[in-house]
C-alpha cells in the first residue's frame, strides 16, 4: 500500500498530439481516486502511464517514495483490471489468477492458498477449473478482480471495469468493488466515463477534459461547488441547467427577467456583465402561490416514477426541473421557480471558470 503522486505528468504522442497536458494529483495511502471525463479526455492514458503501459513524456509518477517512470509494469507492484477483462482465454480461471504469481516464482502452496482465498472472497470457487468463455460477464469480471487482488499489490488500477456489464450487474459490482477496496485498504485509481460510478466510488474525484484536470475534490465538493461550467454539466444527472444571466449589484444576478441572489458569486464583478448561470434541476423549487420567481414555461413531462422531469424554458434558455411526481397538476403550462442563493452557480461566459467569492478566485476572474 502506498501513496501515489503524479507531478506535472504529460503525454505527447509521436504525431505531436498532446493527450495529457500536465496533470498533478496526490492520492493518499488507501485512497480511492476516480478519474472521470468524456472519452478522449486523457483519463485512460493517465492510468496507463501509472501502469507503465505508456511511456511518460515528461513529469513524474511515484508509487510510495519510488519514482517509477522507467520501471517496467511488472516491477511497479500494481495490478490492473481491464475493460474487456483481458483474461487468457486458453487458461482456466485458476491459472488466470495464478499466472502472475507463478511468473514471480511464488511457492506453489502459497499460490494455492492465495488463489483459494481470492476465489472465496469473490465467490468464484465453483468456477476455478472452467475456461473464461464458459463464464458470464459478471463472473469474468470477478475473475479479473481475483487476478488483481491475489497479487496483493500496492496499487489497484481499474480501466472502466464495469462498462461491459448490463445496468443491473453494474450497480451490484460497483458496490462490491467499493466494499472490497475498503476491506483491503489498497490505494486505487479507477477510470470511468460514468459520473454515477465516479460519485459513488471515489473519495477523491478527478474530473478531466481535453487532457487537463478540471477539478479535484471529494464527490460532494465537486457536486456542490463545481469549479468550471464543464464540471457543472458533467457531474450530476440530469445535468445542471446553464442559462444566460446578467450581473446586478449586491451579489445578485438576473436570469430570464428575474433577479436571483447568488451566495458564492464574486463581489467585484461589473454590473451588466453577461455570465452563465448554472442551476441544478433538482435544486430549483416551485414557488408557493403568490411568491415571485423565475417564470418557467413547461413544454412536456417525462415520468421517472418517484420523480418527474419537466422540460421547458426560462426566458430564452432551455431548462429541466426535477420534482417529486405530482408536484404540478396535469396540464400546467407555467410555474414560478425559486432558487436558494447557495444553489446559484455563476460562470465566466468566456473561460467557463466559476466566478467565486473566495479572494484568490475573485482576483483571477477580474
Amino acid at each position: 500500500m502506498a501513496v501515489v503522486t503524479l507531478k506535472d505528468v504529460r503525454k505527447v504522442y509521436a504525431g505531436g498530439v498532446e493527450a495529457v497536458k500536465g496533470v498533478s494529483i496526490d492520492i493518499p495511502d488507501g485512497g480511492f481516486c476516480v478519474l472521470v471525463g468524456p472519452s478522449g479526455c486523457g483519463k485512460s492514458t493517465l492510468l496507463r502511464m501509472v501502469a507503465g503501459l505508456e511511456t511518460i513524456s515528461s513529469g513524474e509518477v511515484a508509487i510510495g517514495d519510488r519514482v517509477v517512470n522507467d520501471i517496467e509494469p511488472a516491477e511497479r507492484d500494481i495490478a490492473m483490471v481491464f475493460q474487456n477483462y483481458a483474461l487468457y482465454p486458453h487458461m482456466s480461471v485458476y491459472d488466470n489468477i495464478a499466472y502472475g504469481l507463478r511468473n514471480r516464482k511464488t511457492p506453489k502452496d502459497e499460490i494455492d492458498r492465495r488463489v483459494q482465498e481470492a476465489a472465496r472472497i469473490l465467490a468464484i470457487e465453483p468456477f476455478l477449473q472452467r475456461k473464461p468463455r464458459a463464464l458470464s460477464g459478471g463472473q469474468r469480471q470477478r475473475v479479473a478482480m481475483g487476478r488483481a487482488i491475489v497479487r496483493k499489490p500496492q496499487v489497484f488500477l481499474f480501466d472502466e471495469p464495469l462498462s461491459n456489464l448490463d445496468a443491473k450487474l453494474r450497480v451490484q459490482m460497483r458496490v462490491e468493488i467499493k466494499k472490497l477496496q475498503r476491506a483491503l485498504g489498497v490505494t486505487s485509481i479507477y477510470v470511468t466515463h460514468d459520473q454515477v460510478e465516479a460519485m459513488t466510488l471515489s473519495d477523491k474525484l478527478v474530473v478531466m477534459s481535453g487532457g487537463q484536470v478540471e477539478q479535484v475534490g471529494t464527490p460532494t465538493e465537486v457536486y456542490r461547488r463545481p469549479e468550471t461550467r464543464f464540471v457543472a454539466t458533467f457531474i450530476g444527472s440530469p445535468p445542471m441547467n446553464i442559462l444566460p444571466g446578467v450581473v446586478e449589484t449586491d451579489g445578485r444576478v438576473s436570469v430570464g427577467g428575474q433577479s436571483l441572489a447568488a451566495a458564492d458569486m464574486a463581489t467585484d464583478l461589473k454590473p451588466g456583465l453577461a455570465v452563465d448561470v448554472g442551476i441544478r434541476p433538482e435544486e430549483a423549487e416551485i414557488a408557493a402561490p403568490g411568491v415571485a420567481g423565475c417564470a418557467f414555461a413547461i413544454d412536456f413531462v417525462e415520468e421517472l416514477g418517484a420523480t418527474e422531469l419537466l422540460h421547458g424554458t426560462i426566458g430564452e434558455g432551455a431548462f429541466v426541473l426535477q420534482v417529486p411526481t405530482g408536484s404540478v397538476p396535469n396540464g400546467t403550462k407555467q410555474v414560478a421557480l425559486t432558487i436558494a442563493p447557495n444553489c446559484v452557480h455563476v460562470f465566466d461566459r468566456e473561460t467557463g471558470k466559476r466566478l467565486s467569492r473566495r479572494p484568490a478566485e475573485a482576483s483571477k476572474a477580474a
Binding site: G52, L53, A74, M80, A86, Y88, H90, G100, N103
Partner: protein
C-alpha cells in the same frame, strides 16, 4: 420463408448437385477401376465401369516391387513425399510464426523494411525464378536432398501475413495484462500467443501439407536420383511415351495412392481445411 415448393423445385437442386458430384468424382472412379484390372483389359480398351479382380495384385506390385521397366517401388516415394510435405508445412509455420511475432509485437529499426521484404515475395512464385534457384541449390550442394526439396519452398509471405492478421486480433489488453503479470516477450509468446494460435496453426498445416505433397516442377528439377523421387513425379515417369509400354493399371494404382493422403486430410479435417483455405486468401 414461405415458398411454394413444387416437386420440380424441390428436386432440381438435388439433381444438379448429384450430377456435379458425379462429374467431379468420375475421373477418380475411373482411375480406381483402372487400378483393379489387368494390363491386357486396359490396353485393348475393353475395361468396364466396375472394378476387376486385380486390385490386390496391382497395389502390392506398385507399392513394393518394381516392374518390367525396372521402376522404383512406390513405397519409398510415398515416404519421400510425406517427408517433404511435413518439412515444408512445419518449416513454413515455424519461421512464419516467429517472424510475424517480431513484426507485430516489437518496434525496431527497419521493421517496415523487413515486412516489405517478406511481403514482396508474394509476387515471386518459384516458377518465375526456377533456373537461378536451381543453380543456387546446386551450388549449395542441396540437389537430391530433403533440404533441397523443401527449404526453398519454406519461405512464404502468405503464412507470415496470416499469422500477422491473427495476431492483430489478439486484444492489446492481453499483452498488457501479461506485462503486469511479469511475463517477458518470449514467455508471452509461449504461454499465450502459441496456445491461442493452435487453430490457425492447424489450419495452415492442412493447407501447407497439401501444397507440399502436390509439388511438381521443383522436385522434378532437383531430384535426379530415383530414390529421392516423390510420388507425384514418380507417377509421371510411369507414363511411357510409347503408350503400349505404359502399365496403366500400375499407374492408376499409384495415382490412387498419391491422392489418398491429401484427400484424406481434406475430408477428415474439413473444418480446418476450409478455414485455412479461406484465411490464407485474405
Amino acid at each position: 420463408m414461405v415458398e411454394r415448393r413444387t416437386w420440380f423445385s424441390t428436386f432440381l437442386p438435388h439433381f444438379i448437385l448429384i450430377m456435379g458430384v458425379l462429374i467431379v468424382a468420375f475421373p477418380v472412379y475411373v482411375a480406381f477401376v483402372g487400378s483393379s484390372w489387368d494390363a491386357g483389359t486396359i490396353a485393348n480398351g475393353t475395361m468396364p465401369l466396375y472394378p476387376g479382380k486385380f486390385l490386390v495384385e496391382n497395389y502390392s506390385r506398385a507399392l513394393l516391387a518394381g516392374n518390367a521397366t525396372a521402376r522404383e517401388p512406390v513405397g519409398p516415394m510415398l515416404l519421400n513425399s510425406f517427408i517433404m510435405a511435413i518439412i515444408i508445412a512445419v518449416g513454413k509455420i515455424a519461421i512464419s510464426i516467429i517472424s510475424a511475432y517480431a513484426v507485430v509485437y516489437f518496434r525496431f529499426p527497419l521493421r517496415q523494411s523487413a515486412f516489405w521484404l517478406i511481403f514482396i515475395t508474394l509476387m515471386l512464385p518459384v516458377e518465375v525464378r526456377i533456373y537461378p534457384t536451381y543453380k543456387i541449390v546446386a551450388d549449395l550442394g542441396m540437389l537430391d536432398t530433403y533440404a533441397g526439396l523443401a527449404v526453398p519452398l519454406i519461405a512464404s509471405a502468405t503464412a507470415t501475413l496470416l499469422f500477422r492478421q491473427f495476431f492483430m486480433t489478439i486484444p492489446d489488453e492481453l499483452v498488457e495484462a501479461s506485462k503486469i503479470d511479469g511475463a517477458g516477450p518470449m514467455k508471452f509468446f509461449v504461454d499465450t500467443v502459441l496456445p491461442l494460435s493452435i487453430t490457425t496453426i492447424a489450419a495452415l498445416f492442412v493447407i501447407q501439407f497439401i501444397y507440399g505433397w502436390n509439388q511438381y516442377l521443383w522436385p522434378l528439377l532437383i531430384t535426379t536420383r530415383e530414390n529421392m523421387q516423390t510420388i507425384v513425379i514418380g507417377i509421371k515417369k510411369m507414363l511411357v511415351t510409347q503408350d503400349a509400354l505404359t502399365e496403366w493399371q500400375l499407374a492408376m494404382a499409384t495415382a490412387v495412392l498419391a491422392m489418398l493422403p491429401p484427400v484424406l486430410v481434406v475430408l477428415l479435417m474439413q473444418k480446418l481445411f476450409v478455414r485455412g483455405l479461406v484465411e490464407t486468401e485474405k
